[in-house]
């Protein structure tokens, strides 16, 4: 018993009652506060459950984009023109490496990695999570990859990462047509944003910048896939919840024949110009080559500014696709003029003009000269084409007038885009009175009509347009749109592992245009026949390039004046500046009876001769290859199934 001496009188029951009351009040308070707690938890877990469940999932579930593989590009025979090649880089996951500085030292010694790269690596790891890979060296050589692979077991946490990059095995041979793929820049990103494609490109680093790679970007790219992963608060991936595989882009099978392309390159060696070959039966472009060219692979990894400047400032302008740039067509327009003359009644097949070597407009002193100073004498339409008689066509042009000429030439696609599947096409210029008014605000002179009659003056035609116009001519008015894409192959990657990937190839169908109809189709034959003579007859202008061919070709040459020369002076190539020298043009088709190939050639500033002697042989080499005297017989890959 302990007694508290200081307590004298204590009313124990009163104190107990007081305490009991207070304890009871406290208990009520506790009940109320507990109720508040419970109510709050209830509102979180029941009333707002959906909201917090969503937020919890947003925390932990992330969608990682998976880039689709870009479609490959093949030529008409299944030769691979654009492939995806793995590019290797050395990556290190810091948290998996025991002694990081030591490991880096050893690997750098092994693979000969510069101190600069090592310093960059140590800087980079500070900014990244320890479980995220950091690159030590990009673009490993095959030797480095092999060397590392042998020693890989010694270095856990160090790995070689492979990423697919575009590679063009034929290099500069295909660049102007295929274009190239390169890193997406800000402009591309903005365009993707505008076209609502940003999401589909979330994992894609490169995009087609030029040529077919650009034109068929949507087909080549494919559809993005997604990996749904669970991550922790640091962003480390814990597990994969779901995977939607990407749909790879479609492969393109082109109408191009890489062997014709090679011939074109060889034939154009040392020359500036372009070659276009089209199958007139369907508008397939068999060859399209512009010289000089450049290697598109340079752009895939990002071209150095030194290399880029070199290309940009080169006098030969290799970056330009000359097949799509305008040249004065010169005498290659004469067959088209001839058909118009016959159709219009300005001439008959028997109409003859006297050629004294020049043509004079009434009341004007100026002499419009023939290329042959002594003249061709009496000339009918066939001879006029064979000999490329200027005076005949001066007469004809004068009779027709500019409006009839330009209206007619428009039907052959001059002055307009051909509609080929490339975005870099130029429309060329088809001069007319309205055009001149709009362009220079000047009226049209009759003298200019004469120049137009022989394909000079303002007239500008791309080699592609010229080839296309010839296909219309040989098709006697039927029009096919020229195109490079023959078929596409789509791959469906099944998630079901047991079944292999399926590929289906679809041929692309092209609609033709409304044909040019003549009342007397015989006029086509008269002109085509004259073109046949131009090549087959000795001393005709197209003959020199086509002596002794085993196939029956027809064609027309053209020699374009680049600079005006003064009256009564003689053109001498050796005395004229290189870039003022004449251009050589040539159009040809074969076999004469049932044409399978049309070729147009343009060569700039030839040092000697004209279209027949410079451009004609180029066209011939293409045809020689086409008709089986094959110079190149590279092993041809089997065609993908379904391509006819």
């Amino acid at each position: 018993m302990i007694k508290n001496k200081r307590v004298i009188i204590r009313n124990h029951s009163a104190e107990a009652n007081l305490f009991a009351r207070r304890a009871f009040i406290a208990l009520i308070g506790i009940f109320l506060l507990s109720l508040i707690l419970f109510n709050n938890i209830f509102s979180l877990e029941v009333s707002s459950y959906k909201k917090y469940q969503t937020r919890s999932n947003n925390n932990r579930i992330k969608l990682l984009p998976v880039a689709p593989n870009r479609g490959l590009i093949y030529d008409r025979n299944g030769v691979l023109l654009a492939e995806n090649k793995p590019v290797y880089s050395l990556e290190i996951i810091p948290e998996q490496v025991k002694n990081l500085p030591q490991t880096i030292k050893e690997i750098s010694k092994l693979l000969n990695i510069s101190a600069e790269k090592q310093a960059k690596f140590f800087k980079a790891i500070k900014r990244k999570r320890r479980f995220k890979p950091v690159e030590l060296q990009s673009r490993l050589s095959e030797q480095q990859v092999a060397l590392f692979s042998v020693n890989q077991h010694k270095y856990p946490g160090v790995r070689v990462d492979a990423r697919l990059k575009r590679y063009y095995p034929f290099g500069d041979l295909t660049t102007h047509t295929l274009g190239y793929e390169a890193r997406i820049n800000r402009k591309d990103a903005q365009r993707l944003e505008r076209e609502n494609k940003t999401e589909n490109y979330a994992a894609t680093r490169e995009i087609g910048k030029l040529g077919l790679e650009k034109y068929y970007e949507d087909i080549l790219h494919g559809t993005i896939g997604h990996q749904e992963v669970e991550v922790n608060s640091q962003g480390r991936i814990i597990r994969t919840l779901d995977f939607t595989p990407p749909i790879p882009g479609k492969d393109l099978i082109l109408t191009l024949d890489i062997e014709l392309q090679m011939i074109a390159k060889r034939a154009m060696q040392g020359k500036r110009g372009a070659v276009v070959a089209i199958d007139p039966r369907d508008g397939s472009v068999l060859a399209m080559y512009s010289n000089p060219s450049y290697d598109g692979n340079l752009f895939v990894h990002g071209i150095s500014s030194k290399n880029y400047k070199k290309l940009l400032h080169s006098k030969d302008l290799p970056l330009i696709n000359r097949a799509l740039q305008g040249y004065p067509p010169a005498s290659t327009v004469k067959p088209f003029m001839a058909v118009l003359g016959l159709k219009d009644g300005a001439i008959t097949p028997h109409t003859k003009f006297w050629d004294p070597g020049y043509y004079k407009l009434k009341g004007v002193d100026h002499k419009y000269r023939d290329w042959k100073p002594s003249g061709h004498g009496s000339v009918d339409i066939t001879k006029a084409i064979e000999q490329s008689c200027n005076v005949y066509f001066y007469n004809l042009a004068f009779k027709l007038g500019i409006t009839k000429i330009s209206d007619w030439m428009e039907k052959f696609g001059f002055g307009d885009y051909t509609g080929i599947d490339l975005s870099e096409e130029s429309s060329g210029i088809l001069p007319s009175a309205q055009w001149k008014r709009a362009r220079y605000n000047r009226s049209w002179y009759t003298g200019e009509t004469l120049s137009v009659g022989i394909g000079q003056s303002y007239w500008s035609v791309t080699p592609l347009q010229l080839a296309q116009a010839v296909t219309i001519l040989v098709n006697k008015g039927n029009i096919n749109i020229p195109h490079l894409l023959k078929a596409t192959t789509s791959h469906t990657s099944d998630t079901n592992k047991s079944s292999t990937n399926k590929s289906t190839t679809e041929n692309v169908h092209y609609e033709g245009k409304a044909p040019i109809v003549l009342k007397h189709p015989i006029y086509w034959d008269i002109v085509l026949n004259a073109m046949h003579n131009t090549i087959q007859k000795k001393h005709a202008t197209g003959h020199p390039g086509f002596v002794n061919t085993h196939y029956d070709a027809a064609g027309k040459s053209g020699t374009a004046q680049v600079a005006n020369k003064a009256q009564n002076t003689k053109y001498d190539a050796t005395k004229v500046k290189e870039n003022k020298r004449n251009n050589a043009m040539f159009i040809a088709f074969a076999p004469f009876k049932a044409p399978e190939i049309v070729v147009a050639v343009a060569i700039e500033n030839v040092s000697k001769g004209g279209g027949g002697t410079n451009a004609g042989p180029v066209a011939r080499q293409i045809m020689d290859q086409y008709f089986g005297k094959r110079t190149f017989s590279s092993p041809v890959l089997p065609l993908p199934k379904g391509v006819k």
Binding site: L37, I41, N232
Partner: protein, 371 residues
């Protein structure tokens, strides 16, 4: 019937002899066992953490049993010396204490580091209960005033460390004694008025920047979702996404994927709610309520003013732990460092709490011999 009654009598006398209150013990044990499961889940499923916590529980139980053997009225003799020593130690902490977690709380005596503020959680209610029970109840105004001063000294010293959570708990333990001693309602009203007047002064002169930040964050957590608001936002997401049934033990994504900060210590309630849902929370709250009711029942049965006030204050302070912790974790209160009692991982507070329950058990079981 009669024989069973005798058996019960015998059993009761056994527990009584070793000074253990069985209902209270069951409540405490069930809390600590539950805590082990949650700690395992929240601590990254590491068995080491559980072993450490089991050790702590063992020590705490031993301390509780040991203290339960001390006749409670003995504390009356020691109240003043203990209080004076405690204040001295708090002063020493401010002068020579070790800094840990941005606050000066630890004192190093030879080989042990300890927090004097933890001891004060017991000493302050003992001191105030002793002081008030020297006189008749209800307590007179000037006694209450002195009692207030006695509470204020350690509260301010601890707030200065700074340890807002502990100073809050110590202040409430003293105030509960005064309330249970029958302070008049007028006085309580005046005090509440004074406290609200004191708040701006507290804000301007006494609170550190990080404490102010906590209060601001509490008021507008979404304004800084990645900074200081992160804790409370993630905690609410964890609780809310638990729903009625919870995501299941070890299945809480907020905790397992480490979105939730301080998972196994102060924010363990969020882990519990996420994994066990509203059903689990209800059971937990009921266990806490049962312990509080048992504590108040013991206090009410006690026959001395001193023991009544002491047991009542300790019990109510225990509830303050619960309320403040759950309140802050669920976004009702600003974040102050108060653990979820007997569930959170961590040492000192558990030992102190169990020592407090040792005193309550002593009050419940020694009374026959003391009365």
């Amino acid at each position: 019937m009669r024989s069973t009654g005798q058996d019960q009598q015998k059993k009761a006398s056994f527990w009584q002899r070793i000074h253990i209150d069985l209902p209270l013990l069951l409540g405490l044990l069930s809390l600590m066992t539950l805590g082990l499961f949650v700690v395992y889940s929240a601590g990254g499923q590491e068995i080491n953490i559980v072993i450490k916590q089991v050790t702590r529980i063992g020590i705490s139980l031993a301390v509780m049993i040991a203290i339960a053997q001390i006749p409670p009225l003995t504390y009356q003799k020691w109240a003043v010396p203990m209080f004076v020593i405690g204040i001295g130690l708090l002063g020493a902490v401010l002068l020579f204490g070790h800094v840990g977690m941005g606050a000066q709380r630890w004192l190093n005596i030879g080989f042990i580091r300890f927090q004097p503020s933890e001891i004060m959680k017991l000493v302050v209610p003992i001191m105030i209960a002793w002081f008030i029970s020297q006189h008749n109840l209800p307590a007179k105004l000037h006694h209450i005033f002195i009692a207030f001063i006695l509470v204020l000294i350690p509260t301010l010293l601890i707030a200065k460390q700074p340890d807002l959570g502990t100073s809050l708990l110590i202040a409430s333990s003293g105030i509960f004694v005064i309330f249970l001693a029958g302070a008049s309602w007028q006085l309580i009203a005046v005090c509440v008025g004074l406290a609200s007047a004191f708040a701006p002064i507290l804000w301007m002169f006494l609170m550190k920047d990080y404490q102010k930040q906590r209060v601001l964050t509490f008021l507008h957590p979404e304004q800084d979702p990645l900074g200081s608001g992160y804790h409370i936002i993630q905690s609410k997401i964890a609780i809310g996404s638990g729903g009625i049934h919870g995501k299941g033990w070890l299945q809480g994504t907020q905790s397992q994927l480490e979105f939730l900060p301080e998972r196994h210590t102060d924010f363990i309630f969020a882990v519990f709610s996420e994994e066990f849902g509203l059903i689990g929370v209800s059971i937990l709250l009921l266990v806490y309520m049962a312990i509080v009711m048992r504590g108040l029942w013991i206090a009410n049965k006690a026959q001395h003013a001193f023991t009544k006030l002491l047991a009542g204050s300790l019990t109510l302070t225990f509830f303050v732990y619960v309320f403040v912790n759950i309140g802050m974790v669920s976004g009702l209160l600003p974040v102050v460092g108060v653990p979820l009692p007997l569930v959170s991982y961590g040492g000192t507070s558990m030992v102190t709490l169990m020592a407090g329950f040792g005193i309550i058990m002593a009050i419940g079981t020694h009374r026959r011999f003391n009365a």
